[in-house]
Symmetry: C2
Subunit: 223 residues, 2 copies
Amino acid sequence: MNPAALVFDAYGTLFDVHAVVQRCEAFWPGKGAQLSALWRAKQLEWTWQRSLMRRYLPFSQLTGDALGYACEALGLACDDARSGALMDEYRRLATYSDVPDALARLHADGCKLAILTNGSPDMIIPLVAHHGMQSLFDAVLSVDELKIYKPAPEVYRLAAKRLGLPSNAIGFVSSNGWDALGAKSFGLRAWWINRGGAPLDRLGFAPDGLLAGLGELPAALAG
Amino acid sequence: MNPAALVFDAYGTLFDVHAVVQRCEAFWPGKGAQLSALWRAKQLEWTWQRSLMRRYLPFSQLTGDALGYACEALGLACDDARSGALMDEYRRLATYSDVPDALARLHADGCKLAILTNGSPDMIIPLVAHHGMQSLFDAVLSVDELKIYKPAPEVYRLAAKRLGLPSNAIGFVSSNGWDALGAKSFGLRAWWINRGGAPLDRLGFAPDGLLAGLGELPAALAG
């Protein structure tokens, strides 16, 4: 049976963060990839560590802190102008090329759609608006109202609660294996978009389905 | 006022994991450093993710899983013999060269000493026994009895509870900045051993002291 609603992770799943990497490279030639990787690693680590410490900080601030750390670690100078420009990129990221058609088709088929993101409202609301996608989604949900990050079960429960559906009627889609498995652990059905061909995280669960891109989802659900 | 007790992280703080890296290099020439780094990264990520998911797995099993993941990601073959040999290394890691003298001096000064580790008892108890250090420590505490990993406050609370001391009478020492800050966030006093010269994690707290090695601790406390 098809899910009554599909809930999507945002960054790396619907929206391509490559523009941020490019901007890093433009600011610090030859260092863009290394800086982006360390920035992303610290950003994620701190979401988990702060959640466990019960010291939540909104994703926009945490992301800015992680940029500062990464620049400090690599000996790169970062002023407010560069930091601001990089954070602005997050508010106008492109979607992956197959995303608009796939979402339009799922929406036309009568499936409820939602976003469930670590991103704070000051990041995700402008990004969705930038693409004029507000009307596609029944809900744009941020962990910010819970003050705890993925993969805590409270986060996935928020989607079920807000959509008014039993957890097994909801399909969750993420390009982060651990995010898909966090949803699965809570009780949602889970699809993992494995664009990079990485092994599955060993967290005691398997996703319900594996996709190479979001464009495969409508057919995977119909099949 | 000096702390009445000092509580130490184990791996990377008292015990040098370099032997594991060397063994990786011996098994997979030219790949040891890359494998060790990915192995360690996944090991830590999963402690945080499983804690948030409330899907605890003992550190020995999680560490074995992370080795399997890292080998799969890098296309390296790993059989039970190699995996077993690497896990055995964890049970006989060397201490850093300045550790025995520093611990002996602190013990002689009447300071209670303890270990507080993510390591499960099947890893940490043999390691302490291998060094004949049982009598040095008032307690060897593992997160295993709580089924949640650092930096959750419950972990640091365990040290205060088991040592029967108020939290501000306990000094916690770790080479992981986030671990020192997790202890600080709970209310212990915290010393960070920054062997690698890394920036401080931006988690909203600062350690009470910074050390280049454990050998500096007795003088830092006396100073």
